[in-house]
Symmetry: C2
Subunit: 291 residues, 2 copies
Amino acid sequence: MENITVLVVDKLRNFIPEGWDVPKTLLKSMDYSLMAGGKRLRPLLVVAAAEALGASREAALPVACAVEMVHTYSLIHDDLPAMDDDDFRRGKPTNHKVFGEAMAILAGDGLLTHAFYSVVQASKEHDVPAANALAIIEDLSRYAGPAGMVGGQVADMEGEQGITGLNQLKYIHEHKTGDLIVFCLKAGGRIASASSEQLKALETYGRGLGLAFQIQDDILDLVGDESKLGKKTQSDVKQQKVTYPFFLGLDKSREEVDRLTHAAKKALSDGFIPYPGRLLEIADFLLRRDH
Amino acid sequence: MENITVLVVDKLRNFIPEGWDVPKTLLKSMDYSLMAGGKRLRPLLVVAAAEALGASREAALPVACAVEMVHTYSLIHDDLPAMDDDDFRRGKPTNHKVFGEAMAILAGDGLLTHAFYSVVQASKEHDVPAANALAIIEDLSRYAGPAGMVGGQVADMEGEQGITGLNQLKYIHEHKTGDLIVFCLKAGGRIASASSEQLKALETYGRGLGLAFQIQDDILDLVGDESKLGKKTQSDVKQQKVTYPFFLGLDKSREEVDRLTHAAKKALSDGFIPYPGRLLEIADFLLRRDH
Protein backbone atom coordinates (compact mmCIF):
# COMPACT_ATOMS: atom_id res chain seq x y z
CA MET A 1 0.00 0.00 0.00
CA GLU A 2 2.97 2.29 0.68
CA ASN A 3 3.86 2.23 -3.02
CA ILE A 4 0.49 3.58 -4.03
CA THR A 5 0.68 6.33 -1.43
CA VAL A 6 4.09 7.37 -2.77
CA LEU A 7 2.72 7.54 -6.32
CA VAL A 8 -0.26 9.61 -5.20
CA VAL A 9 1.86 12.04 -3.18
CA ASP A 10 4.29 12.38 -6.08
CA LYS A 11 1.48 13.25 -8.44
CA LEU A 12 -0.09 15.64 -5.93
CA ARG A 13 3.24 17.43 -5.60
CA ASN A 14 2.84 18.58 -9.21
CA PHE A 15 -0.90 18.86 -9.33
CA ILE A 16 -0.93 22.14 -11.29
CA PRO A 17 -0.07 21.60 -14.98
CA GLU A 18 3.14 23.17 -16.26
CA GLY A 19 2.84 26.68 -17.59
CA TRP A 20 -0.25 27.63 -15.57
CA ASP A 21 -0.07 31.04 -13.98
CA VAL A 22 -1.21 30.50 -10.36
CA PRO A 23 -0.49 33.20 -7.72
CA LYS A 24 2.40 31.97 -5.57
CA THR A 25 0.71 32.29 -2.18
CA LEU A 26 -2.35 30.41 -3.41
CA LEU A 27 -0.18 27.60 -4.73
CA LYS A 28 1.71 27.44 -1.43
CA SER A 29 -1.48 27.37 0.57
CA MET A 30 -3.05 24.53 -1.47
CA ASP A 31 0.23 22.63 -1.45
CA TYR A 32 0.63 23.05 2.32
CA SER A 33 -2.59 21.21 3.06
CA LEU A 34 -2.20 18.61 0.29
CA MET A 35 1.24 17.71 1.68
CA ALA A 36 0.20 17.76 5.35
CA GLY A 37 0.16 13.97 5.49
CA GLY A 38 -2.75 11.81 6.51
CA LYS A 39 -3.54 8.22 5.66
CA ARG A 40 -4.36 8.92 1.99
CA LEU A 41 -7.15 6.40 2.49
CA ARG A 42 -9.39 7.79 -0.24
CA PRO A 43 -6.86 7.71 -3.09
CA LEU A 44 -5.83 4.24 -1.92
CA LEU A 45 -9.44 3.09 -2.23
CA VAL A 46 -9.76 4.45 -5.77
CA VAL A 47 -6.63 2.64 -6.90
CA ALA A 48 -7.52 -0.57 -5.03
CA ALA A 49 -11.00 -0.66 -6.56
CA ALA A 50 -9.65 -0.09 -10.07
CA GLU A 51 -7.03 -2.81 -9.61
CA ALA A 52 -9.62 -5.17 -8.11
CA LEU A 53 -11.22 -5.17 -11.55
CA GLY A 54 -7.98 -5.41 -13.49
CA ALA A 55 -7.49 -1.76 -14.49
CA SER A 56 -4.04 -0.21 -14.31
CA ARG A 57 -2.83 1.78 -11.32
CA GLU A 58 -1.78 4.64 -13.62
CA ALA A 59 -5.28 5.08 -15.04
CA ALA A 60 -6.65 5.41 -11.50
CA LEU A 61 -4.13 8.02 -10.32
CA PRO A 62 -5.81 11.21 -11.67
CA VAL A 63 -9.08 10.33 -9.93
CA ALA A 64 -7.19 9.23 -6.79
CA CYS A 65 -5.59 12.68 -6.68
CA ALA A 66 -8.93 14.37 -7.36
CA VAL A 67 -10.57 12.76 -4.34
CA GLU A 68 -7.65 13.76 -2.12
CA MET A 69 -8.07 17.36 -3.32
CA VAL A 70 -11.77 17.23 -2.44
CA HIS A 71 -11.02 15.70 0.96
CA THR A 72 -8.33 18.31 1.62
CA TYR A 73 -10.55 21.24 0.63
CA SER A 74 -13.23 19.96 3.03
CA LEU A 75 -10.73 19.83 5.89
CA ILE A 76 -9.48 23.37 5.18
CA HIS A 77 -13.01 24.78 5.18
CA ASP A 78 -14.09 22.69 8.20
CA ASP A 79 -11.19 24.04 10.24
CA LEU A 80 -12.09 27.70 9.60
CA PRO A 81 -12.98 29.90 12.59
CA ALA A 82 -16.58 30.18 11.36
CA MET A 83 -16.83 26.37 11.29
CA ASP A 84 -14.97 24.09 13.76
CA ASP A 85 -12.31 26.73 14.56
CA ASP A 86 -9.43 24.26 14.78
CA ASP A 87 -5.85 25.49 15.16
CA PHE A 88 -4.19 22.14 14.52
CA ARG A 89 -4.71 19.26 12.11
CA ARG A 90 -2.42 16.22 11.95
CA GLY A 91 -0.14 17.96 14.43
CA LYS A 92 0.41 20.99 12.19
CA PRO A 93 -1.16 24.46 12.26
CA THR A 94 -4.29 24.54 10.13
CA ASN A 95 -4.28 26.31 6.77
CA HIS A 96 -5.90 29.53 7.98
CA LYS A 97 -3.49 29.77 10.92
CA VAL A 98 -0.62 29.87 8.41
CA PHE A 99 -2.11 31.70 5.41
CA GLY A 100 -5.03 33.62 6.92
CA GLU A 101 -8.75 33.02 6.55
CA ALA A 102 -9.24 34.57 3.12
CA MET A 103 -6.47 32.51 1.55
CA ALA A 104 -7.72 29.34 3.27
CA ILE A 105 -11.20 29.84 1.82
CA LEU A 106 -9.72 30.39 -1.65
CA ALA A 107 -7.29 27.47 -1.34
CA GLY A 108 -10.27 25.25 -0.57
CA ASP A 109 -12.20 26.66 -3.52
CA GLY A 110 -9.20 26.15 -5.77
CA LEU A 111 -8.70 22.53 -4.72
CA LEU A 112 -12.36 21.66 -5.15
CA THR A 113 -12.46 23.22 -8.61
CA HIS A 114 -9.20 21.62 -9.71
CA ALA A 115 -10.34 18.16 -8.60
CA PHE A 116 -12.70 18.08 -11.57
CA TYR A 117 -9.84 19.01 -13.89
CA SER A 118 -7.91 16.06 -12.53
CA VAL A 119 -10.78 13.64 -13.24
CA VAL A 120 -10.89 14.78 -16.87
CA GLN A 121 -7.22 13.83 -17.18
CA ALA A 122 -8.14 10.18 -16.53
CA SER A 123 -9.79 10.27 -19.91
CA LYS A 124 -7.26 12.48 -21.69
CA GLU A 125 -4.08 10.80 -20.48
CA HIS A 126 -5.33 7.23 -20.10
CA ASP A 127 -7.88 5.17 -21.95
CA VAL A 128 -10.84 5.77 -19.63
CA PRO A 129 -13.79 6.33 -22.03
CA ALA A 130 -15.30 9.84 -21.99
CA ALA A 131 -18.67 8.43 -20.87
CA ASN A 132 -17.04 6.76 -17.85
CA ALA A 133 -15.15 9.93 -16.91
CA LEU A 134 -18.43 11.84 -17.16
CA ALA A 135 -20.12 9.31 -14.84
CA ILE A 136 -17.26 9.75 -12.35
CA ILE A 137 -17.78 13.52 -12.47
CA GLU A 138 -21.51 13.11 -11.95
CA ASP A 139 -20.81 10.89 -8.93
CA LEU A 140 -18.18 13.25 -7.52
CA SER A 141 -20.49 16.26 -7.73
CA ARG A 142 -23.32 14.28 -6.19
CA TYR A 143 -21.42 12.57 -3.35
CA ALA A 144 -19.39 15.68 -2.49
CA GLY A 145 -22.23 18.16 -3.02
CA PRO A 146 -25.34 19.51 -1.24
CA ALA A 147 -26.94 16.06 -0.88
CA GLY A 148 -23.58 14.49 0.00
CA MET A 149 -20.54 15.69 1.89
CA VAL A 150 -21.57 19.37 2.07
CA GLY A 151 -25.03 18.33 3.30
CA GLY A 152 -23.41 16.08 5.92
CA GLN A 153 -21.29 18.95 7.14
CA VAL A 154 -24.38 21.15 7.49
CA ALA A 155 -26.20 18.40 9.40
CA ASP A 156 -23.17 17.99 11.65
CA MET A 157 -23.07 21.71 12.34
CA GLU A 158 -26.77 21.84 13.09
CA GLY A 159 -26.38 18.67 15.18
CA GLU A 160 -24.06 20.51 17.54
CA GLN A 161 -27.15 22.33 18.67
CA GLY A 162 -28.47 18.97 19.94
CA ILE A 163 -28.72 15.67 18.09
CA THR A 164 -31.90 13.76 18.84
CA GLY A 165 -30.86 10.21 18.15
CA LEU A 166 -28.71 7.55 16.55
CA ASN A 167 -30.51 7.90 13.22
CA GLN A 168 -29.49 11.52 12.88
CA LEU A 169 -25.92 10.59 13.77
CA LYS A 170 -26.05 7.90 11.08
CA TYR A 171 -27.24 10.51 8.58
CA ILE A 172 -24.29 12.74 9.44
CA HIS A 173 -21.74 9.94 9.14
CA GLU A 174 -23.31 8.63 5.94
CA HIS A 175 -23.02 11.98 4.20
CA LYS A 176 -20.12 13.76 5.86
CA THR A 177 -17.69 10.84 5.54
CA GLY A 178 -19.43 7.89 3.92
CA ASP A 179 -20.47 9.45 0.63
CA LEU A 180 -16.96 10.39 -0.47
CA ILE A 181 -15.72 6.90 0.43
CA VAL A 182 -18.51 5.32 -1.63
CA PHE A 183 -17.46 7.65 -4.44
CA CYS A 184 -13.88 6.30 -4.30
CA LEU A 185 -15.03 2.72 -4.76
CA LYS A 186 -17.47 3.46 -7.56
CA ALA A 187 -14.95 5.69 -9.33
CA GLY A 188 -12.34 2.93 -9.21
CA GLY A 189 -14.96 0.60 -10.65
CA ARG A 190 -15.85 3.01 -13.43
CA ILE A 191 -12.18 3.40 -14.38
CA ALA A 192 -12.21 -0.36 -14.97
CA SER A 193 -15.58 -0.20 -16.81
CA ALA A 194 -17.27 -2.22 -14.06
CA SER A 195 -20.60 -3.99 -14.65
CA SER A 196 -23.60 -2.70 -12.69
CA GLU A 197 -23.38 -5.72 -10.31
CA GLN A 198 -19.74 -4.96 -9.65
CA LEU A 199 -20.50 -1.27 -9.05
CA LYS A 200 -23.23 -2.29 -6.61
CA ALA A 201 -20.82 -4.59 -4.73
CA LEU A 202 -18.19 -1.85 -4.54
CA GLU A 203 -20.82 0.58 -3.29
CA THR A 204 -21.97 -1.83 -0.54
CA TYR A 205 -18.36 -2.42 0.48
CA GLY A 206 -17.71 1.35 0.53
CA ARG A 207 -20.86 2.14 2.50
CA GLY A 208 -20.00 -0.44 5.21
CA LEU A 209 -16.34 0.52 5.32
CA GLY A 210 -17.18 4.23 5.52
CA LEU A 211 -19.47 3.82 8.52
CA ALA A 212 -17.04 1.43 10.25
CA PHE A 213 -14.27 3.96 9.68
CA GLN A 214 -16.28 6.76 11.23
CA ILE A 215 -17.38 4.75 14.29
CA GLN A 216 -13.75 3.77 14.73
CA ASP A 217 -12.87 7.49 14.58
CA ASP A 218 -15.43 8.16 17.34
CA ILE A 219 -13.90 5.37 19.44
CA LEU A 220 -10.31 6.54 18.89
CA ASP A 221 -11.29 10.09 19.69
CA LEU A 222 -12.47 8.80 23.07
CA VAL A 223 -9.69 6.36 23.92
CA GLY A 224 -6.89 7.02 21.40
CA ASP A 225 -3.31 8.13 21.81
CA GLU A 226 -2.91 11.87 21.18
CA SER A 227 0.60 11.59 19.76
CA LYS A 228 -0.54 9.05 17.17
CA LEU A 229 -3.75 10.87 16.28
CA GLY A 230 -2.04 14.27 15.91
CA LYS A 231 -5.01 15.92 17.61
CA LYS A 232 -6.47 16.18 21.09
CA THR A 233 -8.48 13.14 22.12
CA GLN A 234 -11.75 13.48 23.96
CA SER A 235 -12.28 16.65 21.91
CA ASP A 236 -15.75 15.38 20.99
CA VAL A 237 -16.58 14.95 24.67
CA LYS A 238 -15.43 18.47 25.47
CA GLN A 239 -17.42 19.87 22.56
CA GLN A 240 -20.35 17.75 23.71
CA LYS A 241 -20.63 16.07 20.34
CA VAL A 242 -22.72 12.96 20.38
CA THR A 243 -20.97 9.94 18.94
CA TYR A 244 -21.54 6.20 18.49
CA PRO A 245 -19.99 5.34 21.88
CA PHE A 246 -22.32 7.95 23.39
CA PHE A 247 -25.37 6.05 22.13
CA LEU A 248 -24.17 2.43 22.16
CA GLY A 249 -21.32 2.36 24.64
CA LEU A 250 -17.75 1.44 23.76
CA ASP A 251 -18.19 -2.36 23.52
CA LYS A 252 -21.24 -2.28 21.30
CA SER A 253 -19.56 0.33 19.11
CA ARG A 254 -16.56 -1.95 18.65
CA GLU A 255 -18.87 -4.83 17.79
CA GLU A 256 -20.55 -2.62 15.21
CA VAL A 257 -17.19 -1.82 13.58
CA ASP A 258 -16.49 -5.57 13.38
CA ARG A 259 -19.89 -6.39 11.96
CA LEU A 260 -19.75 -3.63 9.32
CA THR A 261 -16.23 -4.58 8.27
CA HIS A 262 -17.15 -8.22 7.78
CA ALA A 263 -20.28 -7.31 5.84
CA ALA A 264 -18.21 -5.01 3.63
CA LYS A 265 -15.71 -7.78 2.88
CA LYS A 266 -18.50 -10.24 2.16
CA ALA A 267 -20.03 -7.90 -0.44
CA LEU A 268 -16.85 -8.24 -2.49
CA SER A 269 -16.98 -12.04 -2.68
CA ASP A 270 -20.70 -11.91 -3.42
CA GLY A 271 -20.21 -9.32 -6.15
CA PHE A 272 -17.92 -10.94 -8.70
CA ILE A 273 -14.87 -8.80 -7.92
CA PRO A 274 -11.98 -10.76 -9.49
CA TYR A 275 -8.98 -9.39 -7.50
CA PRO A 276 -10.35 -8.21 -4.13
CA GLY A 277 -7.05 -8.76 -2.23
CA ARG A 278 -6.08 -5.18 -1.53
CA LEU A 279 -9.61 -4.07 -0.68
CA LEU A 280 -9.83 -6.88 1.91
CA GLU A 281 -6.43 -5.81 3.26
CA ILE A 282 -7.59 -2.20 3.62
CA ALA A 283 -10.70 -3.28 5.54
CA ASP A 284 -8.57 -5.32 7.97
CA PHE A 285 -6.06 -2.51 8.28
CA LEU A 286 -8.76 -0.01 9.21
CA LEU A 287 -10.22 -2.43 11.75
CA ARG A 288 -6.89 -2.70 13.54
CA ARG A 289 -5.74 0.92 13.27
CA ASP A 290 -4.94 2.99 16.34
CA HIS A 291 -4.91 6.39 14.65
CA MET B 1 -33.12 38.23 -24.08
CA GLU B 2 -35.77 38.38 -21.33
CA ASN B 3 -37.12 35.00 -22.47
CA ILE B 4 -33.78 33.28 -21.95
CA THR B 5 -33.41 34.85 -18.51
CA VAL B 6 -36.85 33.56 -17.53
CA LEU B 7 -35.93 30.04 -18.67
CA VAL B 8 -32.66 30.14 -16.74
CA VAL B 9 -34.28 31.42 -13.55
CA ASP B 10 -37.03 28.79 -13.84
CA LYS B 11 -34.46 26.05 -14.13
CA LEU B 12 -32.38 27.48 -11.29
CA ARG B 13 -35.47 27.50 -9.08
CA ASN B 14 -35.43 23.68 -9.19
CA PHE B 15 -31.72 23.15 -9.43
CA ILE B 16 -31.65 20.21 -7.00
CA PRO B 17 -32.99 16.99 -8.59
CA GLU B 18 -36.20 15.56 -7.13
CA GLY B 19 -35.74 13.12 -4.28
CA TRP B 20 -32.37 14.42 -3.14
CA ASP B 21 -32.04 14.82 0.61
CA VAL B 22 -30.50 18.27 1.12
CA PRO B 23 -30.63 19.94 4.58
CA LYS B 24 -33.34 22.62 4.48
CA THR B 25 -31.21 25.55 5.65
CA LEU B 26 -28.51 24.74 3.12
CA LEU B 27 -31.07 24.63 0.32
CA LYS B 28 -32.56 27.95 1.47
CA SER B 29 -29.15 29.56 1.64
CA MET B 30 -28.12 28.43 -1.86
CA ASP B 31 -31.52 29.39 -3.26
CA TYR B 32 -31.40 32.83 -1.59
CA SER B 33 -28.29 33.85 -3.49
CA LEU B 34 -29.25 32.14 -6.76
CA MET B 35 -32.55 34.05 -6.74
CA ALA B 36 -31.07 37.40 -5.65
CA GLY B 37 -31.35 38.79 -9.16
CA GLY B 38 -28.56 40.20 -11.25
CA LYS B 39 -28.18 40.53 -15.00
CA ARG B 40 -27.77 36.77 -15.61
CA LEU B 41 -25.17 37.83 -18.16
CA ARG B 42 -23.17 34.60 -18.00
CA PRO B 43 -26.04 32.16 -18.68
CA LEU B 44 -27.21 34.50 -21.43
CA LEU B 45 -23.79 34.29 -23.07
CA VAL B 46 -23.80 30.47 -22.94
CA VAL B 47 -27.20 30.30 -24.63
CA ALA B 48 -26.37 33.03 -27.15
CA ALA B 49 -23.13 31.32 -28.17
CA ALA B 50 -24.85 27.95 -28.58
CA GLU B 51 -27.62 29.53 -30.65
CA ALA B 52 -25.09 31.48 -32.71
CA LEU B 53 -23.93 28.11 -34.03
CA GLY B 54 -27.39 26.65 -34.47
CA ALA B 55 -27.67 24.54 -31.29
CA SER B 56 -30.93 24.51 -29.34
CA ARG B 57 -31.58 26.75 -26.37
CA GLU B 58 -32.65 23.76 -24.29
CA ALA B 59 -29.34 21.95 -24.76
CA ALA B 60 -27.52 25.05 -23.49
CA LEU B 61 -29.61 25.51 -20.34
CA PRO B 62 -27.84 23.03 -18.00
CA VAL B 63 -24.47 24.68 -18.68
CA ALA B 64 -26.05 28.16 -18.47
CA CYS B 65 -27.30 27.26 -14.98
CA ALA B 66 -23.94 25.76 -14.05
CA VAL B 67 -22.09 28.98 -14.79
CA GLU B 68 -24.62 31.01 -12.78
CA MET B 69 -24.01 28.64 -9.83
CA VAL B 70 -20.26 29.18 -10.13
CA HIS B 71 -20.71 32.95 -10.40
CA THR B 72 -23.06 32.95 -7.39
CA TYR B 73 -20.72 30.85 -5.24
CA SER B 74 -17.88 33.27 -6.01
CA LEU B 75 -20.01 36.23 -4.91
CA ILE B 76 -21.03 34.50 -1.65
CA HIS B 77 -17.41 33.72 -0.77
CA ASP B 78 -16.15 37.17 -1.91
CA ASP B 79 -18.64 38.88 0.38
CA LEU B 80 -17.50 36.99 3.51
CA PRO B 81 -16.04 38.99 6.43
CA ALA B 82 -12.62 37.42 5.84
CA MET B 83 -12.73 38.59 2.21
CA ASP B 84 -14.46 41.84 1.08
CA ASP B 85 -16.75 41.95 4.14
CA ASP B 86 -19.79 43.23 2.27
CA ASP B 87 -23.18 43.51 3.98
CA PHE B 88 -25.20 44.17 0.83
CA ARG B 89 -25.24 42.80 -2.69
CA ARG B 90 -27.77 43.84 -5.32
CA GLY B 91 -29.58 45.81 -2.61
CA LYS B 92 -30.14 42.75 -0.41
CA PRO B 93 -28.27 41.54 2.68
CA THR B 94 -25.42 39.23 1.67
CA ASN B 95 -25.70 35.49 2.27
CA HIS B 96 -23.65 35.41 5.48
CA LYS B 97 -25.66 38.31 6.92
CA VAL B 98 -28.79 36.18 6.60
CA PHE B 99 -27.53 32.63 7.18
CA GLY B 100 -24.29 33.13 9.10
CA GLU B 101 -20.73 32.66 7.94
CA ALA B 102 -20.52 28.88 8.24
CA MET B 103 -23.64 28.33 6.16
CA ALA B 104 -22.48 30.89 3.58
CA ILE B 105 -19.17 29.05 3.14
CA LEU B 106 -21.02 25.74 2.75
CA ALA B 107 -23.65 27.21 0.40
CA GLY B 108 -20.81 28.41 -1.82
CA ASP B 109 -19.13 25.01 -1.67
CA GLY B 110 -22.44 23.31 -2.50
CA LEU B 111 -23.12 25.56 -5.49
CA LEU B 112 -19.63 25.11 -6.91
CA THR B 113 -19.83 21.34 -6.57
CA HIS B 114 -23.32 21.13 -8.01
CA ALA B 115 -22.37 23.22 -11.06
CA PHE B 116 -20.41 20.24 -12.38
CA TYR B 117 -23.44 18.02 -11.88
CA SER B 118 -25.44 20.43 -13.99
CA VAL B 119 -22.91 20.32 -16.84
CA VAL B 120 -23.16 16.52 -16.93
CA GLN B 121 -26.92 16.87 -17.47
CA ALA B 122 -26.24 18.61 -20.81
CA SER B 123 -25.03 15.25 -22.02
CA LYS B 124 -27.56 13.07 -20.19
CA GLU B 125 -30.70 15.06 -20.99
CA HIS B 126 -29.71 16.49 -24.37
CA ASP B 127 -27.62 15.22 -27.22
CA VAL B 128 -24.36 16.91 -26.29
CA PRO B 129 -21.69 14.22 -26.89
CA ALA B 130 -19.86 12.96 -23.76
CA ALA B 131 -16.52 14.17 -25.15
CA ASN B 132 -17.90 17.72 -25.56
CA ALA B 133 -19.38 17.70 -22.04
CA LEU B 134 -16.01 16.55 -20.74
CA ALA B 135 -14.26 19.40 -22.59
CA ILE B 136 -16.74 21.85 -21.02
CA ILE B 137 -15.90 20.46 -17.57
CA GLU B 138 -12.19 20.76 -18.26
CA ASP B 139 -12.71 24.39 -19.30
CA LEU B 140 -14.91 25.16 -16.30
CA SER B 141 -12.41 23.76 -13.83
CA ARG B 142 -9.58 25.61 -15.56
CA TYR B 143 -11.25 29.01 -16.02
CA ALA B 144 -12.87 28.97 -12.56
CA GLY B 145 -9.91 27.39 -10.75
CA PRO B 146 -6.51 28.34 -9.31
CA ALA B 147 -5.20 29.67 -12.64
CA GLY B 148 -8.54 31.32 -13.42
CA MET B 149 -11.20 32.98 -11.29
CA VAL B 150 -9.83 31.83 -7.91
CA GLY B 151 -6.35 33.02 -8.93
CA GLY B 152 -7.82 36.36 -10.01
CA GLN B 153 -9.51 36.76 -6.64
CA VAL B 154 -6.22 36.08 -4.86
CA ALA B 155 -4.42 38.62 -7.06
CA ASP B 156 -7.17 41.16 -6.35
CA MET B 157 -6.85 40.56 -2.61
CA GLU B 158 -3.09 40.91 -2.72
CA GLY B 159 -3.49 43.94 -4.98
CA GLU B 160 -5.32 45.76 -2.22
CA GLN B 161 -1.95 45.94 -0.53
CA GLY B 162 -0.82 48.12 -3.45
CA ILE B 163 -1.08 47.48 -7.18
CA THR B 164 1.99 48.52 -9.12
CA GLY B 165 0.56 49.13 -12.55
CA LEU B 166 -2.00 48.70 -15.29
CA ASN B 167 -0.61 45.28 -16.25
CA GLN B 168 -1.33 43.88 -12.84
CA LEU B 169 -4.84 45.34 -12.97
CA LYS B 170 -5.29 43.69 -16.38
CA TYR B 171 -4.21 40.36 -14.87
CA ILE B 172 -6.81 40.70 -12.12
CA HIS B 173 -9.61 41.58 -14.54
CA GLU B 174 -8.57 38.88 -16.99
CA HIS B 175 -8.79 36.14 -14.37
CA LYS B 176 -11.29 37.39 -11.80
CA THR B 177 -13.98 38.28 -14.33
CA GLY B 178 -12.73 37.57 -17.83
CA ASP B 179 -11.98 33.87 -17.56
CA LEU B 180 -15.50 32.84 -16.58
CA ILE B 181 -16.93 34.95 -19.42
CA VAL B 182 -14.56 33.29 -21.91
CA PHE B 183 -15.73 29.97 -20.48
CA CYS B 184 -19.37 30.88 -21.25
CA LEU B 185 -18.62 31.52 -24.91
CA LYS B 186 -16.50 28.42 -25.43
CA ALA B 187 -19.01 26.24 -23.58
CA GLY B 188 -21.82 27.51 -25.80
CA GLY B 189 -19.62 26.70 -28.77
CA ARG B 190 -18.87 23.20 -27.52
CA ILE B 191 -22.58 22.52 -27.00
CA ALA B 192 -22.94 23.21 -30.72
CA SER B 193 -19.84 21.12 -31.57
CA ALA B 194 -18.01 24.22 -32.82
CA SER B 195 -14.94 23.95 -35.06
CA SER B 196 -11.63 25.09 -33.60
CA GLU B 197 -11.80 28.33 -35.65
CA GLN B 198 -15.23 29.04 -34.28
CA LEU B 199 -14.08 28.33 -30.71
CA LYS B 200 -11.17 30.71 -31.24
CA ALA B 201 -13.52 33.45 -32.50
CA LEU B 202 -15.86 32.96 -29.52
CA GLU B 203 -12.89 33.10 -27.17
CA THR B 204 -11.63 36.35 -28.71
CA TYR B 205 -15.12 37.84 -28.48
CA GLY B 206 -15.42 36.69 -24.84
CA ARG B 207 -12.00 38.02 -23.87
CA GLY B 208 -12.73 41.48 -25.32
CA LEU B 209 -16.25 41.60 -23.93
CA GLY B 210 -15.07 40.49 -20.48
CA LEU B 211 -12.47 43.22 -20.18
CA ALA B 212 -14.85 45.87 -21.58
CA PHE B 213 -17.44 44.74 -19.04
CA GLN B 214 -15.02 45.09 -16.17
CA ILE B 215 -13.73 48.51 -17.21
CA GLN B 216 -17.36 49.60 -17.55
CA ASP B 217 -17.91 48.32 -13.98
CA ASP B 218 -14.98 50.42 -12.78
CA ILE B 219 -16.47 53.47 -14.55
CA LEU B 220 -19.99 52.89 -13.18
CA ASP B 221 -18.61 52.37 -9.72
CA LEU B 222 -17.13 55.86 -9.99
CA VAL B 223 -20.00 57.73 -11.67
CA GLY B 224 -23.01 55.39 -11.52
CA ASP B 225 -26.42 55.74 -9.91
CA GLU B 226 -26.56 53.97 -6.52
CA SER B 227 -30.24 53.04 -6.82
CA LYS B 228 -29.65 51.33 -10.17
CA LEU B 229 -26.42 49.59 -9.13
CA GLY B 230 -27.85 48.29 -5.85
CA LYS B 231 -24.58 49.07 -4.11
CA LYS B 232 -22.69 52.14 -2.94
CA THR B 233 -20.84 53.93 -5.72
CA GLN B 234 -17.33 55.25 -5.20
CA SER B 235 -16.79 52.22 -2.95
CA ASP B 236 -13.59 51.46 -4.87
CA VAL B 237 -12.35 54.98 -4.20
CA LYS B 238 -13.09 54.65 -0.50
CA GLN B 239 -11.36 51.28 -0.38
CA GLN B 240 -8.49 52.81 -2.35
CA LYS B 241 -8.80 50.17 -5.06
CA VAL B 242 -6.98 51.05 -8.20
CA THR B 243 -9.15 50.86 -11.31
CA TYR B 244 -8.98 51.63 -15.03
CA PRO B 245 -10.15 55.23 -14.55
CA PHE B 246 -7.43 55.57 -11.90
CA PHE B 247 -4.75 54.74 -14.48
CA LEU B 248 -6.24 56.08 -17.72
CA GLY B 249 -8.76 58.69 -16.63
CA LEU B 250 -12.48 58.50 -17.33
CA ASP B 251 -12.41 59.49 -21.02
CA LYS B 252 -9.66 57.11 -22.04
CA SER B 253 -11.36 54.33 -20.08
CA ARG B 254 -14.60 54.93 -22.01
CA GLU B 255 -12.68 54.86 -25.28
CA GLU B 256 -11.14 51.55 -24.24
CA VAL B 257 -14.59 50.06 -23.58
CA ASP B 258 -15.64 51.17 -27.09
CA ARG B 259 -12.53 49.81 -28.73
CA LEU B 260 -12.74 46.44 -26.97
CA THR B 261 -16.44 46.07 -27.75
CA HIS B 262 -15.90 46.74 -31.44
CA ALA B 263 -12.98 44.33 -31.61
CA ALA B 264 -15.11 41.66 -29.89
CA LYS B 265 -17.91 42.11 -32.42
CA LYS B 266 -15.47 42.00 -35.31
CA ALA B 267 -14.06 38.64 -34.13
CA LEU B 268 -17.51 37.12 -34.71
CA SER B 269 -17.73 38.20 -38.34
CA ASP B 270 -14.13 37.11 -38.95
CA GLY B 271 -14.74 33.73 -37.33
CA PHE B 272 -17.46 32.07 -39.37
CA ILE B 273 -20.18 32.38 -36.72
CA PRO B 274 -23.40 31.83 -38.70
CA TYR B 275 -25.99 33.51 -36.40
CA PRO B 276 -24.12 36.16 -34.39
CA GLY B 277 -27.20 38.40 -33.90
CA ARG B 278 -27.76 37.97 -30.19
CA LEU B 279 -24.05 38.07 -29.31
CA LEU B 280 -23.77 41.41 -31.14
CA GLU B 281 -26.86 42.64 -29.30
CA ILE B 282 -25.35 41.69 -25.92
CA ALA B 283 -22.13 43.56 -26.72
CA ASP B 284 -24.11 46.71 -27.60
CA PHE B 285 -26.31 46.31 -24.55
CA LEU B 286 -23.30 46.11 -22.23
CA LEU B 287 -21.76 49.16 -23.89
CA ARG B 288 -24.87 51.22 -23.17
CA ARG B 289 -25.71 49.89 -19.69
CA ASP B 290 -25.94 52.19 -16.68
CA HIS B 291 -25.87 49.49 -13.97
